[in-house]
Subunit: 112 residues, 2 copies
DNA sequence: TTGCGTTATTCATTTTAAAACATAACGTTT
DNA sequence: AAACGTTATGTTTTAAAATGAATAACGCAA
């Protein structure tokens, strides 16, 4: 029997290395938008973040995971493009699976 | 069978209201140090945070929970002091219980 | 009644993080 | 060969957050 309350339990998970946070909510969304648009720039614009930062995130991700999650080309048709590697796609799925479990955990412990 | 990796799943939980985050790791530690020292200033010093901020956190907590977690007096013996209310003590315990469950969850999902 | 150490609060300064700006490089397309 | 749109990167500006400094209020203790 829960007390009525405006309080709510919330939380986040992320994948990290000894160097710090590597992949969380925001970067997963970035990866998904890169996948959908084929462009780092478009993904950044959609998320209202600077291309500069989006590009840096991609760099950090590729280095942090030891293998690229995103492969990009410059020049050519459309000016260039970016696509997710198999590992990138898998990583997104993995994060979603973990996050779904977290949401379950949070829902189960909403008894404040 | 987990792949060997330097990657690690981590996470945090907190209690929030519609106005934003209210109580997480750091503020719980602050409460505990206030409890142990009887002083907001001492607690702040121990955590290497400014009294200014510690005091503000206490204010936000007291307002956010609808009832004070910390009661303070100024003047008198020692210059003043701060103690936790029953609700403050309960809230700490509640957070620890939730956080212990989270740690379990994280440990169970370390298979990266 | 003076001093002490703390709570309480405002204001200025510093630090940090993010955004914005500016170019260069690149390879299709026209 | 010029234009285009993107990747790639360094530099500058801006905005947000934390810190530090300053001051008042307070009540006990000496």
């Amino acid at each position: 029997m829960d007390k009525s309350s405006s309080l709510r339990l919330n939380g986040r998970i992320w994948i990290e290395t000894e160097k710090g946070r590597l992949l969380g909510r925001g970067r997963v969304e970035l990866l998904e938008r890169i996948q959908a648009s084929g462009s780092i720039r478009q993904a950044a614009m959609q998320m209202k973040m600077s291309y500069r930062q989006a590009w840096e995130y991609v760099k950090i991700l590729n280095e942090g995971f030891g293998a690229p999650l995103v492969m990009s080309v410059r020049g050519g048709k459309g000016g260039g493009n970016a696509i997710l590697t198999e590992k990138g796609i898998e990583t997104i799925q993995q994060f979603h699976a973990l996050n779904a479990k977290l949401q379950l955990f949070l829902a189960e412990n909403q008894n404040l």
